[in-house]
């Protein structure tokens, strides 16, 4: 396996104007789009012009002066990176005179650069070194006794990379990458002239600066000035594998760079359709958990959850698992068992788990973590548009004129897409943010929302309906679109409903706490500002009215004609890497893959024919129903792959009680997670680095996950499920995940065209990919809605029953932070804890003062569901009356607080609204102490018995 490299063409592609020009480069005629730089033109035709400051993901800059060329009829030597091609131009890129000039420039560079190449971590992977060779530099006549910028101290504060100013050539690529690609503006050049130097913020240490550690600067650096610590430790990589990141729903493509079996670094891949060569701190750097010492590598069994674990052989674990499920089904009935699929595992693994349940357990008791995040998206978009997925690809945002973000925090939770969105905003698109919190998008360097509507948690439907009220009553809707694409009568019913005075911005102001004029302004902007695109997240779905909110969003898009082309649409930002895929794969108790109801006879017949068994036509149990049934004594065994419901699901007490009531809980995971504290069988899982498969990101993009290293536990996750299935007598015989995908394609019309050979050749495919859409579907509903006519749904605002009152006067809402991922099982086991070592409670200064709370104080957070303690962070990001925390740390167990209220249609929990009280506290709550005790007990492991 070799090292896959990318060519850097030096400058961005030309903006498409359609016009081409023909010129001559070094005697060859070349025809390329107008606006292309000479440098890019030469590169595309195979001539590498020396360069150091140019990179094809950055605006051309023209500072290094190595790329000078000769243009007939022009004075001097223009820089090829900043000079566009022109009709009839005659360019020479390699002449004696140019060599002389380039050598002269390089001689200056090297006169201020250490000559320690042999001991430099970038030796062999250094652009400066390469270019010095390319221009034929043989001597530095300036000597080394003059002024230099060498000998400055290294900044090693960032846990993942070092900054060595001595090796800096001041090309500004890092600064420009931070500005243009990442949009954080954390870097600058300090000073001027010979003393110019790269500085983070106010010459702070990187860790203390505004840097978000996305790695764009490290990637941009042409020397070893900014370099990964791991490369310094390990040496340069010698082989690489292209794969897909396992954090978040953006689905970034990376080149995993290896030295033998050791992962050296993850470098974002320029051809990645979701990330275009960008990354965030998680994907770029936080992969160390894969080798963390707490990884469990041997299967384990115990008869009760109070016992220590006993390491056993794979055979014993598999046979035990299969026999337990059979025993329990025999004793308690077919419906007494079920499974949970993972949004972090591959499509293939997920498909196998639901197949195990449907084919092997003979019921539909399968659910997935999407239950607790985006199940309302599935319901809402299927009802209105006909497809349970977002309508656009990520690139679409670059065509948007108005971006409406509701209940999503992309710069933290989907950082790479957040950066793209900020690029578009800096180009002039307008932004509306509907969020109780003042997220970074509302105002951060160079980005400011036109409207921020800081609504009270739980009032989304009222807010969106009020916007609809403005659009309808002010006649800002797109009548032609509605008449053509929707049912006019349904629209009129809906229009009558939203037009009622009770739904006006003025009428709902007391409910939402947002000034009516702001709501009107936002509605007008969305309806009339050009291409309007809506992006939303869990702040929409995780409510009692999650499904209604999704449908209210769909209504707005249809009413304004903002659907069915680039730049518009309705776009759920998926939390986990494969939550879209997990849903697609038939993980819900009522649906087969491709969102087909289990009661559909034709679909069932197809699966029955393929799997050779009779399948249940009745929906199965959802996760909360399983837990209810368990506490009632009718549900006894659960197979959980890659999901930590104890930490992630609401009302921890209830989850714990449900799990504790079961006779066999099987957990397949990387670590002894919180759920495993209640498990009887632990099957070690493998990381995304250790297996083949596919993930499907938030834009329905199916991308390959490729094995970078052998599974540390000896088995890929799909193999383990196959072992269990076969121990139950199912007779599976997959030899590679591609065969699983072939089965998915054969059984799922929207995936009919998806095969590994195509994915390998084309990089990715966006479903539907089938005969009707052979190239996949970047934008949905172009000529018509998937369901035929778009359906307007009347969305009555039904307030949640979770109410504040004298005992619980504040509203808690929860979310996530850039440096951590979901329950934190992975990121807590990396150096990302440097940024976020604990969950904190954000509280407004006024609420803090009323309670005598100072910044950093330990506070008790109490709801009617439970109580926990954590430290307070006083901030105006949250409005008075609202508090906020993250759920990344099990020590805090934020979900002890959340209740079991949930979305009316899908039971997606209402994480975003909990009535709470906050007060000073001296230490952990009783629950925290008991739980810590139990977790300690439950993590004891007796070693594998020697004789095997």
């Amino acid at each position: 396996m070799g090292f896959t490299r990318e060519t850097d063409h030096g400058t961005l592609p030309a903006l498409a104007t359609g016009a081409n020009v023909t010129l001559t480069i070094d005697g060859e005629h070349v025809t390329l789009p107008e606006g292309t730089s000479i440098m890019r033109a030469a590169s595309l035709t195979g001539t590498a012009i020396p360069k150091l400051c140019a990179s094809d993901n950055l605006e051309s800059f023209g500072s290094c002066r190595l790329c000078l060329v000769e243009v007939e009829g022009r004075n001097g030597y223009p820089a090829s990176c900043t000079t566009p091609i022109a009709e009839g131009m005659v360019v020479r890129t390699q002449t004696e005179r140019l060599k002389e000039l380039r050598r002269g420039v390089m001689e200056l560079y090297i006169s201020d650069h250490p000559l320690d190449c042999l001991t430099c971590a970038a030796n062999g992977d250094c652009e400066l070194q390469n270019q010095a060779g390319a221009v034929g530099l043989r001597d530095v006549r300036y000597g080394y006794d003059g002024a230099t910028n060498m000998g400055q101290p290294k900044d090693q504060s960032n846990p993942y990379f070092d900054f060595d100013p001595s090796k800096c050539i001041v090309c500004s690529r890092c600064v420009r990458a931070c500005d243009e690609v990442q949009g954080t503006f954390a870097l600058t050049i300090e000073g001027l002239g010979f003393g110019s130097k790269v500085a983070a913020s106010q010459d702070d240490a990187f860790l203390a600066s505004e840097c978000v550690s996305c790695g764009a600067c490290v990637q941009a650096c042409p020397t070893a000035s900014l370099i990964e610590k791991k490369v310094v430790e390990t040496g340069t990589p010698d082989r690489s594998v292209i794969t897909t990141c396992a954090y978040c729903g953006v689905g970034c493509t990376f080149r995993a760079e290896m030295r033998g079996e050791e992962l050296v670094r993850m470098v974002p891949w320029k051809d990645g359709k979701a990330n275009h060569g960008h990354s965030c701190v998680k994907g770029r750097f936080a992969w160390g958990y894969a080798q963390h010492k707490e990884r469990i590598l041997h299967p384990m069994i115990r008869t009760s959850i109070t016992e220590p674990w006993r390491e056993v052989s794979w055979d014993e674990a598999i046979v035990h698992t299969a026999s337990e499920f059979r025993r329990i089904q025999e004793k308690y009935g077919r419906l007494a068992v079920g499974g949970i699929t993972s949004s972090r595992c591959t499509n293939e693994e997920t498909f196998l788990v639901q197949k195990l349940v449907r084919q092997g357990f003979g019921n539909n008791n399968v659910d997935t973590c999407a239950r607790v995040c985006h199940s309302p998206t599935g319901y809402g978009l299927k009802t209105t548009f006909g497809t349970s997925a977002g309508t656009q690809d990520f690139d679409s945002v670059m065509q948007s004129d108005v971006i409406l973000v509701i209940g999503a925090n992309p710069t933290d939770a989907h950082p790479v897409f957040g950066s793209r969105m900020k690029q578009r905003l800096r180009q002039g698109a307008k932004l509306i943010v509907i969020d109780p919190r003042r997220t970074d998008l509302v105002r951060s360097p160079h980005v400011e929302a036109e409207h921020h509507l800081p609504l009270r948690p739980g009032t989304n439907v009222a807010m969106l309906t009020a916007m609809a009220h403005v659009i309808v009553t002010e006649e800002l809707y797109d009548e032609a679109f509605i008449r053509e694409r929707c049912d006019w009568d349904e629209f009129q019913d809906w229009a009558d409903f939203v037009s009622e005075a009770a739904r006006s911005p003025e009428a709902i102001e007391p409910l939402t706490g947002v000034r009516a004029e702001d709501v009107r302004g936002a509605a007008r902007l969305y309806a009339t500002g050009g291409n309007g695109a809506i992006y939303y997240g869990l702040g929409v779905t995780e409510h009692s009215q999650g499904s209604s909110t999704v449908m209210a969003i769909a209504n707005l898009a249809m009413a304004t004609g903002n659907i069915g082309r680039e730049g518009v649409g309705v776009n759920p930002l998926r939390g986990q890497n494969n939550v879209q895929g997990a849903c697609d794969m038939g993980s819900f108790p009522h649906e087969f893959s491709g969102y087909r109801h289990v009661s559909d006879d034709a679909t069932r017949a197809m699966f029955e024919a393929a799997w050779g068994v009779k399948l249940d036509h009745e929906p199965g149990l959802r996760i909360p129903n399983m837990l209810d049934a368990a506490t009632d004594g009718t549900f006894k065994a659960l197979f959980i792959q890659g999901e930590d419901i104890l930490q992630s699901d609401p009302n921890t007490h209830h989850v714990a009680a449900g799990l504790a009531a079961m006779e066999c809980v099987v957990v397949q995971d990387l670590f002894l997670n919180e759920t495993a504290n209640y498990a009887h069988v632990f099957l070690p899982g493998s990381t995304f680095l250790e297996k083949d498969g596919t993930f499907t990101n938030a834009e329905r993009r199916i991308q390959r996950v490729r094995k970078v290293m052998a599974p540390l536990n000896g088995q890929a996750d799909w193999e383990i499920v196959q072992l269990v299935a076969n121990a139950m007598g199912l007779g599976w015989s997959y030899s590679h995940p591609s065969e699983i995908m072939d089965e998915i394609a054969a059984l799922t019309p929207t995936f009919a065209g998806v095969h590994y050979d195509r994915l390998d050749a084309e990089g990715s495919l966006q479903w539907p990919a089938n005969d009707a859409a052979p190239g996949g579907t970047p934008t949905m509903h172009i000529d018509g809605f998937a369901r035929g006519k778009g359906k307007f749904i009347v969305t009555d605002y039904i307030p949640t029953d979770e109410k504040t009152g004298p005992r619980f006067p504040l509203l808690l809402t929860t979310g996530r932070i850039l440096s951590h991922y979901n329950v934190g099982a992975q990121t807590r086991r990396t150096a990302n804890t440097a940024w976020h070592p604990e969950d904190r409670l954000e509280i407004h200064p006024a609420d803090a003062e009323n309670r005598g709370i100072k910044d950093g104080d330990w506070v008790g957070l109490k709801s009617r569901a439970g109580e926990t303690t954590l430290r307070a962070q006083i901030t105006e990001r949250v409005a008075p009356g609202v508090v906020y925390t993250t759920f990344h740390h099990p020590d805090t167990q934020a979900n002890v607080i959340t209740t079991d209220y949930s979305d009316w249609a899908t039971n997606c929990p209402e994480y975003k609204v909990t009535a709470v009280q906050v007060g000073l506290s001296n230490g952990p709550s009783d629950w925290q102490e008991d739980y810590a005790d139990h977790a300690r007990q439950s993590r004891r492991i007796a070693p594998l018995e020697a004789a095997e």
Partner: protein
Amino acid sequence: MKRVFISCDMASVALGADAVARAFVGAGCEVVRTGSRGLFSIEPLVEIETEAGRIGYGPVAPCEVEAVLDGTHRNYIGAVDEHRFFAAQKRFTFARCGIVDPLSLADYAAHRGWIGLDTARAAEPQAVVDAIRASGLRGRGGAGFPTGIKWQTVLDAPCRTKYIVCNADEGDSGTFADRMLMEGDPFCLIEGMAIAAHAVGASRGFIYIRSEYPFGIDAMRAAIELSADRVAPFELEVRVGAGAYVCGEETALLDSIEGRRGQVRAKPPLPALAGLFGKPTVINNVLSLAAVPFILSEGAQAYADVGFGRSRGTMPVQLAGNVKHGGLFEVGFGITLGELVNDIGGGTASGRPVRAVQVGGPLGAYFPPSMFDLPFDYEAFTAAGGLIGHAGITIFDDSVDMAQMARFAMEFCAAESCGKCTPCRIGSTRGVEIVDRIIAARESEPARPTANNGVLGKALYSRAPDRIDVSPSAQTTLLRDLCDTMKYGSLCALGGFTPYPVLSALDHFPEDFGAPAPALEAAE
């Protein structure tokens, strides 16, 4: 009550004009503060209004009021207009400077002010641009680009928002014409900008003035306020620089106005198409814009009639440095360097022989007296390896060390480099080091390494300094190679033109670099 005219120009004030003015007020005179006429050897100049016109005395000290008032002062000049220094000029741009109260709208109007603007506004924009093209006006900032063509590009740019930017970042040593005009006739610049705005369809303008010119800043701000109604709807604003010479480069200036580091932008795009805030922008020097009202009021032909070759109109030449009669001398192109230095300037102030003159500021070439027959003309200077630049002439007597001046050119570039492009950023520092070696060798001292800024010292590096050939000839070759890299490799004129003073010093004064002097009269 006697009306007395005394300059409030910064140079006059530096020579004590304020105290003189106070003394005349104390003596019961009505003192009118004007700009400076431009001859500093007679400042502070006091002009008494008489029926025979203004009678001048200068220089005058505060204690000499009586002598002036009774006509016995030893520095009696007579009718100032007839003074040889002034009478020999063609004052198109500086016609009012030194004569009017700079902030009197009435004075301005009484001296043919606003006629150009009214003429322009009565015409189509294209007609105004045509007039500028017909006048042959070329950018007075140094590059000499035809102003009319620049305006045409902006006029043709399809954009509703356009800007007029005046480059008043006059940082070249030896030049002060911009400063004098802004202090002495600020409405002239405002009128020129208003005409430009009408010509290209701009509604807002900025004047970027270096912070070293506090008097100019105050005068322009006051004049803008006073004339706001007259030039409305055109709006003007002064922006103050912050001590960065490189901001005189037009794209760096634009970045500076935008609130950024004053780094040079790569061109294209041209500012005329994507300039201030990305909009089409006319960016012209003070003298270019100040020439515009004359062209409109007196006609393009009147302007074009004066000049030499492709250099049309007048140039306000500034005589500076070690000069007897230093000051501003506005004259048609074509006058020779020697006439300016010896006849107008009167040779050195020190009385010693002239050895070198630097024309065009710190980036201009040094010329020896053997080249004094060079006519003042853009093309002629380019052919001679120099540039007119902003038409400042700095005169040095025979005590000058040209190696030190070459070193200073590099040092100045090192101090003022924006740091963006490599030839300028590193090359200027290396240039200083090379000249240091040459000077050391010239003085037969062993080559002494300059201080090593890095703490690592030379031990870390594989090549020790003693491998370098430090002989003057090797270092001179290296210096020439460096100049070649800087001249052709730099992003802007700062790095690109710094070789002019260095190479011209090397070429014309080799004896200062440890090489044999050129044979006398070799040029003949």
